[in-house]
Symmetry: C2
DNA sequence: GCATACCAACTTGTATACAAACAGGTGTGC
DNA sequence: GCACACCTGTTTGTATACAAGTTGGTATGC
Protein backbone atom coordinates (compact mmCIF):
# COMPACT_ATOMS: atom_id res chain seq x y z
CA UNK A 1 0.00 0.00 0.00
CA UNK A 2 2.75 2.41 0.82
CA UNK A 3 5.30 0.87 -1.46
CA UNK A 4 4.87 3.44 -4.19
CA UNK A 5 7.72 3.76 -6.55
CA UNK A 6 9.50 7.06 -6.54
CA UNK A 7 10.49 7.82 -10.06
CA UNK A 8 12.85 10.72 -9.82
CA UNK A 9 13.98 10.41 -13.39
CA UNK A 10 10.58 11.12 -14.85
CA UNK A 11 10.38 14.43 -13.09
CA UNK A 12 11.41 17.27 -15.35
CA UNK A 13 10.83 19.90 -12.69
CA UNK A 14 13.32 18.18 -10.40
CA UNK A 15 15.95 18.00 -13.09
CA UNK A 16 15.52 21.67 -13.92
CA UNK A 17 15.69 22.51 -10.22
CA UNK A 18 18.98 20.66 -9.85
CA UNK A 19 20.38 22.18 -13.01
CA UNK A 20 19.50 25.72 -12.01
CA UNK A 21 20.91 25.21 -8.56
CA UNK A 22 24.22 24.00 -9.87
CA UNK A 23 24.22 26.88 -12.37
CA UNK A 24 23.97 29.22 -9.42
CA UNK A 25 26.58 27.32 -7.42
CA UNK A 26 29.06 27.37 -10.27
CA UNK A 27 28.45 31.02 -10.99
CA UNK A 28 27.08 30.36 -14.47
CA UNK A 29 24.20 32.33 -13.07
CA UNK A 30 25.81 35.19 -11.20
CA UNK A 31 24.34 36.83 -8.12
CA UNK A 32 22.25 39.72 -9.35
CA UNK A 33 21.68 38.25 -12.81
CA UNK A 34 18.20 38.67 -14.18
CA UNK A 35 16.41 36.19 -16.40
CA UNK A 36 12.96 35.15 -17.55
CA UNK A 37 11.07 31.89 -17.36
CA UNK A 38 11.00 31.61 -21.15
CA UNK A 39 14.76 31.98 -21.29
CA UNK A 40 15.27 29.08 -18.89
CA UNK A 41 12.57 26.98 -20.53
CA UNK A 42 14.22 27.39 -23.90
CA UNK A 43 17.67 26.55 -22.56
CA UNK A 44 16.33 23.47 -20.79
CA UNK A 45 14.22 22.41 -23.75
CA UNK A 46 11.09 22.34 -21.65
CA UNK A 47 7.98 24.43 -21.16
CA UNK A 48 7.47 27.10 -18.58
CA UNK A 49 5.43 24.88 -16.28
CA UNK A 50 8.20 22.73 -14.79
CA UNK A 51 10.55 25.72 -14.91
CA UNK A 52 8.19 27.70 -12.73
CA UNK A 53 7.90 24.81 -10.31
CA UNK A 54 11.68 24.69 -10.01
CA UNK A 55 11.95 28.44 -9.61
CA UNK A 56 9.37 28.52 -6.82
CA UNK A 57 11.37 25.94 -4.93
CA UNK A 58 14.55 27.95 -5.39
CA UNK A 59 12.69 31.03 -4.28
CA UNK A 60 11.57 29.36 -1.07
CA UNK A 61 15.16 28.37 -0.46
CA UNK A 62 16.09 32.00 -1.12
CA UNK A 63 18.37 31.45 -4.09
CA UNK A 64 16.25 33.61 -6.42
CA UNK A 65 13.61 36.29 -6.27
CA UNK A 66 10.67 37.01 -8.52
CA UNK A 67 9.95 40.60 -9.50
CA UNK A 68 6.29 41.19 -10.17
CA UNK A 69 5.77 40.65 -13.88
CA UNK A 70 9.26 41.75 -14.44
CA UNK A 71 11.46 38.70 -14.45
CA UNK A 72 13.52 36.73 -11.97
CA UNK A 73 16.79 37.53 -10.28
CA UNK A 74 19.54 35.49 -8.69
CA UNK A 75 19.71 36.74 -5.16
CA UNK A 76 22.72 38.98 -4.68
CA UNK A 77 25.38 37.69 -2.33
CA UNK A 78 24.58 38.70 1.19
CA UNK A 79 27.39 38.03 3.60
CA UNK A 80 25.31 38.90 6.64
CA UNK A 81 22.93 36.15 5.52
CA UNK A 82 25.69 33.54 5.44
CA UNK A 83 27.01 34.73 8.78
CA UNK A 84 23.57 34.21 10.25
CA UNK A 85 23.31 30.72 8.78
CA UNK A 86 26.67 29.85 10.30
CA UNK A 87 25.37 31.02 13.64
CA UNK A 88 22.27 28.87 13.48
CA UNK A 89 24.35 25.91 12.37
CA UNK A 90 26.58 26.35 15.40
CA UNK A 91 23.59 26.54 17.70
CA UNK A 92 22.04 23.36 16.31
CA UNK A 93 25.25 21.39 16.35
CA UNK A 94 26.08 22.38 19.89
CA UNK A 95 22.60 21.37 20.95
CA UNK A 96 23.13 18.08 19.14
CA UNK A 97 26.37 17.46 21.00
CA UNK A 98 24.56 18.13 24.23
CA UNK A 99 21.85 15.64 23.35
CA UNK A 100 24.39 13.03 22.36
CA UNK A 101 26.29 13.47 25.60
CA UNK A 102 23.08 12.85 27.48
CA UNK A 103 22.68 9.47 25.79
CA UNK A 104 24.11 6.60 27.78
CA UNK A 105 25.12 4.44 24.87
CA UNK A 106 26.75 5.50 21.65
CA UNK A 107 24.33 5.64 18.75
CA UNK A 108 25.39 3.73 15.62
CA UNK A 109 25.89 7.07 13.85
CA UNK A 110 28.41 8.13 16.43
CA UNK A 111 30.33 4.91 16.01
CA UNK A 112 30.33 5.46 12.26
CA UNK A 113 31.78 8.90 12.77
CA UNK A 114 34.53 7.60 14.99
CA UNK A 115 35.39 4.93 12.43
CA UNK A 116 35.72 7.57 9.74
CA UNK A 117 37.58 10.32 11.53
CA UNK A 118 39.61 8.77 14.32
CA UNK A 119 42.16 7.13 12.03
CA UNK A 120 45.95 7.28 11.78
CA UNK A 121 47.38 9.94 9.52
CA UNK A 122 48.31 7.39 6.90
CA UNK A 123 44.67 6.54 6.28
CA UNK A 124 43.48 10.08 5.87
CA UNK A 125 42.05 11.29 2.59
CA UNK A 126 43.68 14.21 0.89
CA UNK A 127 41.44 15.24 -1.96
CA UNK A 128 39.85 18.61 -1.30
CA UNK A 129 36.54 17.95 -3.00
CA UNK A 130 36.05 14.58 -1.35
CA UNK A 131 36.93 16.01 2.01
CA UNK A 132 34.55 18.91 1.53
CA UNK A 133 31.68 16.47 1.17
CA UNK A 134 32.99 14.35 4.00
CA UNK A 135 33.16 17.40 6.25
CA UNK A 136 29.55 18.20 5.43
CA UNK A 137 28.63 14.66 6.35
CA UNK A 138 30.53 14.89 9.63
CA UNK A 139 28.42 17.79 10.79
CA UNK A 140 25.22 16.33 9.44
CA UNK A 141 25.83 12.95 11.04
CA UNK A 142 26.61 14.63 14.31
CA UNK A 143 23.15 16.16 14.29
CA UNK A 144 21.56 12.94 13.09
CA UNK A 145 23.18 11.11 15.97
CA UNK A 146 21.22 13.31 18.34
CA UNK A 147 18.10 11.49 17.18
CA UNK A 148 15.83 14.41 16.25
CA UNK A 149 14.99 14.02 12.58
CA UNK A 150 13.41 17.48 12.23
CA UNK A 151 16.48 19.10 13.70
CA UNK A 152 18.53 17.08 11.24
CA UNK A 153 16.32 18.21 8.37
CA UNK A 154 16.65 21.87 9.26
CA UNK A 155 20.39 21.44 9.67
CA UNK A 156 20.54 19.73 6.31
CA UNK A 157 18.82 22.72 4.72
CA UNK A 158 21.38 25.02 6.30
CA UNK A 159 24.16 22.82 4.95
CA UNK A 160 22.71 23.03 1.45
CA UNK A 161 22.54 26.78 1.60
CA UNK A 162 26.02 27.15 2.96
CA UNK A 163 27.61 24.75 0.49
CA UNK A 164 27.99 27.45 -2.11
CA UNK A 165 30.61 29.17 0.00
CA UNK A 166 31.69 26.39 2.32
CA UNK A 167 33.29 24.12 -0.26
CA UNK A 168 35.95 26.80 -0.70
CA UNK A 169 37.37 25.78 2.65
CA UNK A 170 39.34 22.75 1.54
CA UNK A 171 41.69 24.17 -1.00
CA UNK A 172 44.79 24.02 1.17
CA UNK A 173 46.43 21.03 2.93
CA UNK A 174 46.75 22.81 6.28
CA UNK A 175 42.99 23.10 6.56
CA UNK A 176 42.64 19.44 5.63
CA UNK A 177 44.98 18.34 8.40
CA UNK A 178 43.33 20.69 10.84
CA UNK A 179 39.92 19.27 9.96
CA UNK A 180 40.97 15.70 10.77
CA UNK A 181 42.59 16.85 13.95
CA UNK A 182 39.62 18.88 15.11
CA UNK A 183 36.97 16.33 14.17
CA UNK A 184 38.67 13.46 15.96
CA UNK A 185 39.28 15.61 18.99
CA UNK A 186 35.62 16.59 19.16
CA UNK A 187 34.52 12.97 18.81
CA UNK A 188 36.84 11.91 21.57
CA UNK A 189 35.43 14.52 23.91
CA UNK A 190 31.94 13.33 23.09
CA UNK A 191 32.89 9.72 23.66
CA UNK A 192 34.05 10.59 27.15
CA UNK A 193 30.87 12.66 27.60
CA UNK A 194 32.82 15.83 28.18
CA UNK A 195 29.94 17.90 26.96
CA UNK A 196 31.21 21.43 27.59
CA UNK A 197 34.61 20.70 26.12
CA UNK A 198 33.12 19.13 23.02
CA UNK A 199 30.90 22.12 22.46
CA UNK A 200 33.74 24.59 22.87
CA UNK A 201 35.89 22.65 20.42
CA UNK A 202 33.06 22.35 17.94
CA UNK A 203 32.36 26.05 18.15
CA UNK A 204 36.01 26.85 17.56
CA UNK A 205 36.16 24.40 14.66
CA UNK A 206 33.22 25.99 12.89
CA UNK A 207 34.59 29.42 13.62
CA UNK A 208 37.97 28.73 12.03
CA UNK A 209 36.33 27.20 8.98
CA UNK A 210 34.10 30.23 8.76
CA UNK A 211 37.03 32.60 8.92
CA UNK A 212 38.81 30.75 6.16
CA UNK A 213 35.75 30.88 3.96
CA UNK A 214 35.16 34.56 4.64
CA UNK A 215 38.49 35.39 3.06
CA UNK A 216 38.25 33.10 0.07
CA UNK A 217 34.69 33.95 -0.87
CA UNK A 218 35.40 37.59 -1.53
CA UNK A 219 38.28 36.63 -3.77
CA UNK A 220 36.28 33.99 -5.68
CA UNK A 221 33.38 36.26 -6.31
CA UNK A 222 35.70 38.90 -7.68
CA UNK A 223 37.38 36.33 -9.93
CA UNK A 224 34.08 35.07 -11.27
CA UNK A 225 32.99 38.60 -12.06
CA UNK A 226 36.19 39.26 -13.95
CA UNK A 227 36.03 36.06 -15.98
CA UNK A 228 32.47 36.64 -16.98
CA UNK A 229 33.54 40.00 -18.32
CA UNK A 230 31.11 41.84 -16.15
CA UNK A 231 31.94 44.98 -14.28
CA UNK A 232 31.66 45.13 -10.54
CA UNK A 233 28.45 46.74 -9.67
CA UNK A 234 28.82 48.93 -6.66
CA UNK A 235 26.06 51.42 -6.73
CA UNK B 1 -17.27 34.47 8.14
CA UNK B 2 -14.24 36.57 8.62
CA UNK B 3 -14.94 39.95 7.12
CA UNK B 4 -11.39 40.39 6.00
CA UNK B 5 -10.89 42.96 3.33
CA UNK B 6 -10.13 41.29 0.07
CA UNK B 7 -6.76 42.62 -0.68
CA UNK B 8 -6.97 42.12 -4.41
CA UNK B 9 -3.63 40.47 -3.85
CA UNK B 10 -3.76 39.45 -7.50
CA UNK B 11 -2.24 36.25 -6.29
CA UNK B 12 -4.69 33.40 -6.47
CA UNK B 13 -2.10 30.82 -5.52
CA UNK B 14 -1.50 32.61 -2.21
CA UNK B 15 -5.17 32.75 -1.37
CA UNK B 16 -5.61 29.08 -2.16
CA UNK B 17 -2.56 28.25 -0.07
CA UNK B 18 -4.00 30.13 2.91
CA UNK B 19 -7.42 28.57 2.44
CA UNK B 20 -6.06 25.02 2.24
CA UNK B 21 -3.89 25.58 5.26
CA UNK B 22 -6.78 26.78 7.35
CA UNK B 23 -8.87 23.88 6.06
CA UNK B 24 -6.24 21.56 7.42
CA UNK B 25 -5.93 23.49 10.68
CA UNK B 26 -9.66 23.41 11.27
CA UNK B 27 -9.92 19.74 10.42
CA UNK B 28 -12.13 20.36 7.40
CA UNK B 29 -9.40 18.40 5.73
CA UNK B 30 -8.63 15.57 8.11
CA UNK B 31 -5.24 13.97 8.50
CA UNK B 32 -5.13 11.07 6.08
CA UNK B 33 -7.80 12.50 3.77
CA UNK B 34 -7.12 12.06 0.08
CA UNK B 35 -8.09 14.52 -2.60
CA UNK B 36 -7.26 15.53 -6.16
CA UNK B 37 -6.11 18.78 -7.68
CA UNK B 38 -9.29 19.06 -9.73
CA UNK B 39 -11.39 18.68 -6.63
CA UNK B 40 -9.66 21.61 -4.94
CA UNK B 41 -9.63 23.70 -8.11
CA UNK B 42 -13.36 23.27 -8.48
CA UNK B 43 -14.05 24.13 -4.85
CA UNK B 44 -11.86 27.22 -5.08
CA UNK B 45 -13.27 28.25 -8.42
CA UNK B 46 -9.84 28.33 -10.00
CA UNK B 47 -7.79 26.26 -12.37
CA UNK B 48 -5.28 23.60 -11.42
CA UNK B 49 -2.27 25.83 -11.97
CA UNK B 50 -2.49 28.00 -8.83
CA UNK B 51 -3.81 25.02 -6.88
CA UNK B 52 -0.69 23.05 -7.74
CA UNK B 53 1.50 25.93 -6.72
CA UNK B 54 -0.25 26.08 -3.35
CA UNK B 55 -0.03 22.32 -2.89
CA UNK B 56 3.69 22.28 -3.61
CA UNK B 57 4.22 24.88 -0.93
CA UNK B 58 2.18 22.87 1.54
CA UNK B 59 4.12 19.78 0.56
CA UNK B 60 7.43 21.48 1.29
CA UNK B 61 6.05 22.50 4.66
CA UNK B 62 5.02 18.86 5.14
CA UNK B 63 1.31 19.37 5.51
CA UNK B 64 0.45 17.20 2.50
CA UNK B 65 1.99 14.50 0.36
CA UNK B 66 1.62 13.74 -3.31
CA UNK B 67 1.21 10.13 -4.40
CA UNK B 68 2.56 9.56 -7.84
CA UNK B 69 -0.33 10.06 -10.25
CA UNK B 70 -2.64 8.93 -7.57
CA UNK B 71 -3.82 12.02 -5.73
CA UNK B 72 -2.79 14.03 -2.71
CA UNK B 73 -3.08 13.24 0.96
CA UNK B 74 -3.19 15.30 4.12
CA UNK B 75 -0.27 14.08 6.15
CA UNK B 76 -1.42 11.88 8.99
CA UNK B 77 -0.88 13.22 12.47
CA UNK B 78 2.55 12.30 13.72
CA UNK B 79 3.06 13.04 17.37
CA UNK B 80 6.75 12.27 17.27
CA UNK B 81 7.04 14.94 14.61
CA UNK B 82 5.46 17.58 16.84
CA UNK B 83 7.59 16.50 19.76
CA UNK B 84 10.65 17.03 17.65
CA UNK B 85 9.50 20.45 16.55
CA UNK B 86 8.98 21.41 20.17
CA UNK B 87 12.52 20.31 20.89
CA UNK B 88 14.00 22.42 18.15
CA UNK B 89 11.92 25.37 19.25
CA UNK B 90 13.28 25.05 22.74
CA UNK B 91 16.83 24.88 21.46
CA UNK B 92 16.45 27.99 19.32
CA UNK B 93 14.72 30.00 21.99
CA UNK B 94 17.28 29.12 24.63
CA UNK B 95 20.02 30.12 22.24
CA UNK B 96 18.17 33.36 21.62
CA UNK B 97 17.99 34.07 25.34
CA UNK B 98 21.69 33.47 25.56
CA UNK B 99 22.36 35.91 22.74
CA UNK B 100 20.12 38.53 24.28
CA UNK B 101 21.85 38.20 27.62
CA UNK B 102 25.14 38.84 25.90
CA UNK B 103 23.87 42.16 24.58
CA UNK B 104 24.74 45.12 26.76
CA UNK B 105 21.68 47.23 26.02
CA UNK B 106 18.11 46.08 25.70
CA UNK B 107 16.95 45.82 22.12
CA UNK B 108 13.71 47.65 21.29
CA UNK B 109 12.02 44.27 20.85
CA UNK B 110 12.88 43.31 24.38
CA UNK B 111 11.43 46.55 25.70
CA UNK B 112 8.27 45.90 23.72
CA UNK B 113 7.99 42.48 25.30
CA UNK B 114 8.36 43.90 28.77
CA UNK B 115 5.69 46.48 28.05
CA UNK B 116 3.29 43.76 26.96
CA UNK B 117 3.87 41.10 29.55
CA UNK B 118 5.10 42.76 32.73
CA UNK B 119 1.78 44.37 33.61
CA UNK B 120 -0.47 44.26 36.69
CA UNK B 121 -3.13 41.56 36.75
CA UNK B 122 -5.89 44.05 36.05
CA UNK B 123 -4.46 44.83 32.65
CA UNK B 124 -4.10 41.26 31.52
CA UNK B 125 -6.09 39.94 28.59
CA UNK B 126 -8.35 37.00 29.14
CA UNK B 127 -9.54 35.85 25.75
CA UNK B 128 -8.05 32.49 24.85
CA UNK B 129 -7.73 33.06 21.13
CA UNK B 130 -6.13 36.46 21.51
CA UNK B 131 -3.73 35.14 24.08
CA UNK B 132 -2.82 32.21 21.90
CA UNK B 133 -1.61 34.60 19.21
CA UNK B 134 0.04 36.81 21.78
CA UNK B 135 1.89 33.83 23.20
CA UNK B 136 3.15 32.96 19.74
CA UNK B 137 4.37 36.51 19.36
CA UNK B 138 6.12 36.39 22.73
CA UNK B 139 8.28 33.52 21.64
CA UNK B 140 8.83 34.90 18.16
CA UNK B 141 9.80 38.32 19.45
CA UNK B 142 12.17 36.73 21.90
CA UNK B 143 14.03 35.15 19.01
CA UNK B 144 13.81 38.31 16.93
CA UNK B 145 15.35 40.26 19.79
CA UNK B 146 18.44 38.08 19.47
CA UNK B 147 19.13 39.82 16.17
CA UNK B 148 19.58 36.84 13.82
CA UNK B 149 16.93 37.13 11.13
CA UNK B 150 17.53 33.65 9.71
CA UNK B 151 17.15 32.11 13.11
CA UNK B 152 13.95 34.10 13.49
CA UNK B 153 12.73 32.86 10.12
CA UNK B 154 13.35 29.24 10.98
CA UNK B 155 11.69 29.72 14.33
CA UNK B 156 8.75 31.36 12.62
CA UNK B 157 8.37 28.31 10.39
CA UNK B 158 8.36 26.07 13.45
CA UNK B 159 5.72 28.26 15.04
CA UNK B 160 3.53 27.97 11.96
CA UNK B 161 3.80 24.21 11.98
CA UNK B 162 3.09 23.91 15.65
CA UNK B 163 0.12 26.27 15.63
CA UNK B 164 -2.23 23.50 14.61
CA UNK B 165 -1.83 21.86 17.99
CA UNK B 166 -0.50 24.71 20.09
CA UNK B 167 -3.53 26.92 20.03
CA UNK B 168 -5.30 24.27 22.09
CA UNK B 169 -3.26 25.40 25.06
CA UNK B 170 -5.32 28.44 26.03
CA UNK B 171 -8.68 26.96 26.69
CA UNK B 172 -8.53 27.21 30.47
CA UNK B 173 -7.96 30.28 32.71
CA UNK B 174 -5.29 28.61 34.85
CA UNK B 175 -3.01 28.28 31.80
CA UNK B 176 -3.66 31.91 30.91
CA UNK B 177 -2.60 33.12 34.33
CA UNK B 178 0.39 30.83 34.33
CA UNK B 179 1.45 32.16 30.94
CA UNK B 180 1.50 35.75 32.13
CA UNK B 181 3.34 34.72 35.27
CA UNK B 182 5.95 32.69 33.42
CA UNK B 183 6.54 35.16 30.61
CA UNK B 184 7.07 38.10 32.92
CA UNK B 185 9.34 36.06 35.12
CA UNK B 186 11.46 35.04 32.15
CA UNK B 187 11.70 38.62 30.93
CA UNK B 188 12.75 39.79 34.35
CA UNK B 189 15.54 37.25 34.47
CA UNK B 190 16.70 38.36 31.05
CA UNK B 191 16.61 42.00 32.07
CA UNK B 192 18.96 41.23 34.91
CA UNK B 193 21.05 39.14 32.55
CA UNK B 194 20.55 36.01 34.58
CA UNK B 195 21.11 33.87 31.56
CA UNK B 196 21.01 30.39 33.07
CA UNK B 197 17.94 31.11 35.14
CA UNK B 198 16.10 32.58 32.17
CA UNK B 199 16.86 29.53 30.07
CA UNK B 200 15.73 27.12 32.76
CA UNK B 201 12.48 29.00 33.22
CA UNK B 202 11.89 29.20 29.50
CA UNK B 203 12.51 25.50 29.11
CA UNK B 204 10.07 24.74 31.90
CA UNK B 205 7.51 27.11 30.41
CA UNK B 206 7.62 25.44 27.02
CA UNK B 207 7.53 22.04 28.67
CA UNK B 208 4.38 22.74 30.63
CA UNK B 209 2.67 24.16 27.60
CA UNK B 210 3.73 21.09 25.66
CA UNK B 211 2.33 18.76 28.30
CA UNK B 212 -0.99 20.55 28.27
CA UNK B 213 -1.18 20.30 24.50
CA UNK B 214 -0.24 16.63 24.48
CA UNK B 215 -3.32 15.79 26.48
CA UNK B 216 -5.76 18.00 24.59
CA UNK B 217 -4.60 17.05 21.11
CA UNK B 218 -5.40 13.39 21.52
CA UNK B 219 -8.87 14.27 22.70
CA UNK B 220 -9.49 16.78 19.89
CA UNK B 221 -8.35 14.42 17.20
CA UNK B 222 -10.60 11.71 18.52
CA UNK B 223 -13.55 14.14 18.60
CA UNK B 224 -12.92 15.26 15.05
CA UNK B 225 -12.76 11.69 13.86
CA UNK B 226 -16.01 10.86 15.57
CA UNK B 227 -17.84 13.85 14.12
CA UNK B 228 -16.69 13.12 10.64
CA UNK B 229 -17.94 9.58 11.07
CA UNK B 230 -14.61 8.05 10.28
CA UNK B 231 -13.07 5.14 12.06
CA UNK B 232 -9.80 5.39 13.86
CA UNK B 233 -7.02 4.16 11.76
CA UNK B 234 -4.37 2.58 13.85
CA UNK B 235 -2.15 0.57 11.61
C1' DG C 1 17.99 69.49 -26.83
C1' DC C 2 14.76 67.86 -23.32
C1' DA C 3 10.67 66.11 -21.28
C1' DT C 4 6.62 63.52 -21.73
C1' DA C 5 3.15 60.51 -23.63
C1' DC C 6 2.28 56.52 -26.01
C1' DC C 7 3.07 52.04 -27.99
C1' DA C 8 5.00 47.54 -28.66
C1' DA C 9 7.46 43.85 -26.88
C1' DC C 10 8.19 41.17 -23.02
C1' DT C 11 7.13 39.30 -18.37
C1' DT C 12 4.60 36.78 -15.05
C1' DG C 13 -0.12 34.88 -13.54
C1' DT C 14 -3.82 31.90 -14.83
C1' DA C 15 -6.59 28.75 -17.66
C1' DT C 16 -6.95 25.05 -20.73
C1' DA C 17 -5.42 21.09 -23.60
C1' DC C 18 -2.97 17.01 -24.07
C1' DA C 19 0.02 12.87 -22.52
C1' DA C 20 1.28 9.13 -19.60
C1' DA C 21 0.38 6.15 -16.03
C1' DC C 22 -2.24 4.10 -12.45
C1' DA C 23 -6.61 1.90 -10.24
C1' DG C 24 -10.64 -0.34 -10.21
C1' DG C 25 -14.32 -2.51 -12.35
C1' DT C 26 -16.03 -5.73 -15.85
C1' DG C 27 -16.25 -9.35 -18.87
C1' DT C 28 -14.47 -13.66 -20.48
C1' DG C 29 -12.38 -18.15 -20.30
C1' DC C 30 -12.20 -22.12 -17.60
C1' DG D 1 -17.14 -19.53 -8.61
C1' DC D 2 -12.52 -17.77 -9.68
C1' DA D 3 -8.52 -15.84 -12.02
C1' DC D 4 -6.82 -12.87 -15.31
C1' DA D 5 -6.71 -9.64 -19.04
C1' DC D 6 -8.50 -5.60 -20.83
C1' DC D 7 -10.71 -1.29 -20.88
C1' DT D 8 -12.19 3.01 -19.08
C1' DG D 9 -12.11 6.78 -16.03
C1' DT D 10 -9.27 9.44 -13.05
C1' DT D 11 -4.91 11.33 -11.60
C1' DT D 12 -0.74 13.95 -11.97
C1' DG D 13 2.94 15.84 -15.26
C1' DT D 14 3.78 18.84 -19.08
C1' DA D 15 2.82 22.00 -22.95
C1' DT D 16 0.40 25.69 -24.84
C1' DA D 17 -2.88 29.64 -25.04
C1' DC D 18 -4.57 33.73 -23.14
C1' DA D 19 -4.81 37.82 -19.76
C1' DA D 20 -2.90 41.58 -17.26
C1' DG D 21 0.74 44.51 -16.18
C1' DT D 22 5.57 46.44 -16.51
C1' DT D 23 9.37 48.43 -19.11
C1' DG D 24 11.97 50.71 -22.29
C1' DG D 25 12.37 52.98 -26.50
C1' DT D 26 10.61 56.31 -29.76
C1' DA D 27 8.20 59.94 -31.57
C1' DT D 28 6.23 64.28 -30.75
C1' DG D 29 5.52 68.80 -28.65
C1' DC D 30 7.87 72.65 -26.95
Amino acid sequence: MKAHKEKKSSNLADRIYQQLKSDIFDFRLMPGDRFSENEIAERMGASRTPVREALFRLQRESYVDVLFRSGWQVKPFDFDYFEELYDVRTILECAAVRKICEQENNSPKLDDLIRIWCVPESERLEDGNTLSRLDERFHEMLVEAAGNTEMARIHHDLTERLRIIRRLDFTKPPRIDATYQEHSSILEAIQHRRCEQAQIQLRAHIESSRNEVRKITLHMLHEARMHSGKADNDD
